[in-house]
Amino acid sequence: MVDSLIYLAATIVGVAFLLALWRFMAGPTAVDRIIAFDSLTIVSITGIALAALAEGRGIYLDVALVYALLSFLGVIVVARYIERGF
């Protein structure tokens, strides 16, 4: 029962991942690509949590925490760079 639920959620999340990837490849400005990068990272956090639920291993969630930290740090650094070039 839990398995089919995870499959459904993972399919929807995969479609969202592909849409964000399209925006990352095709974004006209740099800001579009940065927001697509942020969105891809957040969708990946959900994917990692679903993989942890599917595998039944709680240690995967630590990696998701590192991801949340890295997403924030990366977006701040890039925004600061395009704003005033360090």
Partner: protein, 84 residues
């Protein structure tokens, strides 16, 4: 099992796409660095799906965090020589 294989295939596709963007570049060097960071980030998800969480954590922290930060720092310093 099917779920992990499907996620792994999707991630491989994404890694190739981001690597192409990192090589060919968008408008600027910053996009290339961002795409290289994305390659590293998704490679660490791939490591995670191969059941190696410690390798994935190291790859995410160093390959994506530290390298991207260092590249942007250096790019900000040497900006006068950039032909764009």
């Amino acid at each position: 099992m099917i779920l992990l294989i499907a996620m792994s295939l999707l991630l491989s596709l994404t890694i190739v796409a981001a690597a192409i963007l990192a090589i060919r570049g968008g408008q600027s060097l910053a996009i290339s660095i961002l795409a290289a960071g994305l390659v590293s980030l998704l490679a660490s998800v791939q490591f995670l799906l191969l059941a190696a969480p410690d390798v994935a954590m190291t790859e995410a922290a160093i390959g994506s965090g530290l390298t991207t930060f260092l590249f942007f720092f250096v790019l900000g310093r040497v900006r006068g020589g950039e032909h764009d």
